[in-house]
């Protein structure tokens, strides 16, 4: 274990470094998923003539 304040475990710092990349990515993925879900829910209510095309094929 380190006691010296100047000498410490240096992790990758990848979280710090990667925040600009992965946080927007997750937000975008979340927003697209949200839009798609909302659309599907609305459609179930209003019976659109569009064919069903959820993730699963049939």
């Amino acid at each position: 274990m380190t006691t010296d304040a100047d000498v410490v475990i240096l992790a990758h710092h990848s979280l710090l470094l990667a925040i600009p990349a992965f946080v927007p990515a997750f937000i975008v993925a979340g927003v697209v998923a949200y839009i798609a879900m909302k659309d599907r829910r609305n459609r179930d209510g209003s019976h659109s003539e569009e064919t069903e095309s959820t993730g699963q094929d049939n």
Binding site: L10, L15, P20, F22, A25, D39
Partner: protein
Amino acid sequence: MTGSTGISILAAAGSEGGGAAIGQVIGMTVVAVIIGAALCWLGYLHRARKITWVNSVAEYAGRKFKRPPWVAVPMALFIATLICALFGFIWDVSLHIGKGRDPGPLANPAHYFILVGLFLLFVAGCAAIILPYEKPGPFAVRITKDWYAPVGGFLMAGCGLYALTGFPLDDVWHRIFGQDVTLWGPTHLMMIGGAGFSTISALLLEYEGDRAMGADKPKDGVFLKSIRYLGFGGVIIGLSVFQIEFDFGVPQFRQVFEPMLIAAAGAFGLVAARMMLGRFAAILAALFAIALRGLVALVVGPILGSPINWFALYLGGALVVELVALTPLFKRPLVFGAVSGLLVSTVGLWLESFWVDAVYHYPWPSSLWPEALMMAVPVAVLTGVCGAMFGMVLTDQRLPRRAIGIGLVALTVLVIGGATANGLRYEVPQNATATMTLTEAPGSAPDKRMVTADVRINPPGLISEDANWVSVLGWQGGLANERGIFVDRLERLGPGHYRSTQPMPVYGKWKTLLRVHDGRIFTAVPIFLAGDPGIGAPEIPAQATMTRPFVPEITILQRERNPDTPMVLWTVGGLVVLVCTLIMIGGLTWGAGRINRREPTDSKTELQPSAQA
């Protein structure tokens, strides 16, 4: 512990004059947020049809590349970004081998290439999702009533997301377990695996573009044709990323993995290439892979002065796939894939072994083959079958029934898992020691001590004559000192008696050790380990005569690991990564299946091949 590490990181940044570094991180975050927000805003304006120029640019690219706009733009971005990520990845590995772990967040320039590469991979996938105004081809996934996105776009973005997920998990991982300086940390595998598997999504997107254009599609010129071969070369490279430690001559796992990984990647990529692009496609794909890996290796090694890496050629495998394709088996894709896999993992590996023996630090001894074949053959047969199914999707052939197709993918995953579990088993001999007598090498500078060693392993009968390796590895010595890597396979003088063939470095920051690998035995003895105050590890000096016990190699090569972490955490961490990985493979399987099965819903597409089992 976690909390204190968090604090100490800030302290570290402060204590090493890292104020500027923190400033850089903040600067980079600001830049990235601006770019990200701008992209999102552009996407919104484009979807809301408030601007037209994005569409005009995309259509121009589409005309230029003879693809729909939603294929042309993402593919151009994808190819550029993946080459960027590949370069960053190889360079990063080489820097870690030559210099050890990173001294700070921004000290390693290669990280930028990886980060930007993986981020743009995600952006490329998003571009395919956001661009199309009209339904992009018959297989498109509905997002809203007037917004459909190609399956390949979703898969590409998903692979990017999977790779990016590796970053935060990696950080958590390192805080819990300490740094593991190996490529095969689970979170590292996510980052490289996401990029590697994204090549499959790119080919699916390309196929969707083809189908969407139907008969109107103009013929590809030489450039666009070669891009397709490059695509399959990309699949081979993408699936070869797991071998990189072998390519650098610092494998931290048993040697049987190497042939298995080569056979697995080769069988999948080469079979699919041959099926989609016809005669000589397997060989051309291998040649493109060689050219790209060769270029990157040239830049990283000779030009940037980092450790040298080699790469498997896959030419032997390509040759046998081409030959099998000349037989009537080619008409039965699954059989073709299985037989090709069988031959790639036997004849192909045998041909590959000449190359490995010629250039790699560790040639394949004859004792390797029985276990290597037991692992490689089942794995390659099944990846060959998966490659054939991928090829069927790309050539409009009907896949076998859904249960069979999914079952084959699941079986492949299980068999790879089983073979990997076997490969990870190793033994450290109890009560064995190595007695080493060091001789100062003539002419070595006083501050750069070089020695040769005479090594006696006790008991003498411990290691067979045909061991995988008895060698001295020195690494992390700094790029200025012989690129920071030293590998010397010792000359065998008699049972348990070995001798250096060249002087090894035992000074400065080097970590020099005797490595022994014979079948299941996988162990090492430290010769000289530089003191590492950062992790509280004292120097282990190289004495003129010393007798030291054999220990698990991981305790020497990965001194950064925190040994006190409970096993449960490791299992939980591994399971999280495993679940993410299975989701990604499941997603690719679903996408390929959807593209193959979905009945066309728009009139543009015709010519659905008749169903066959």
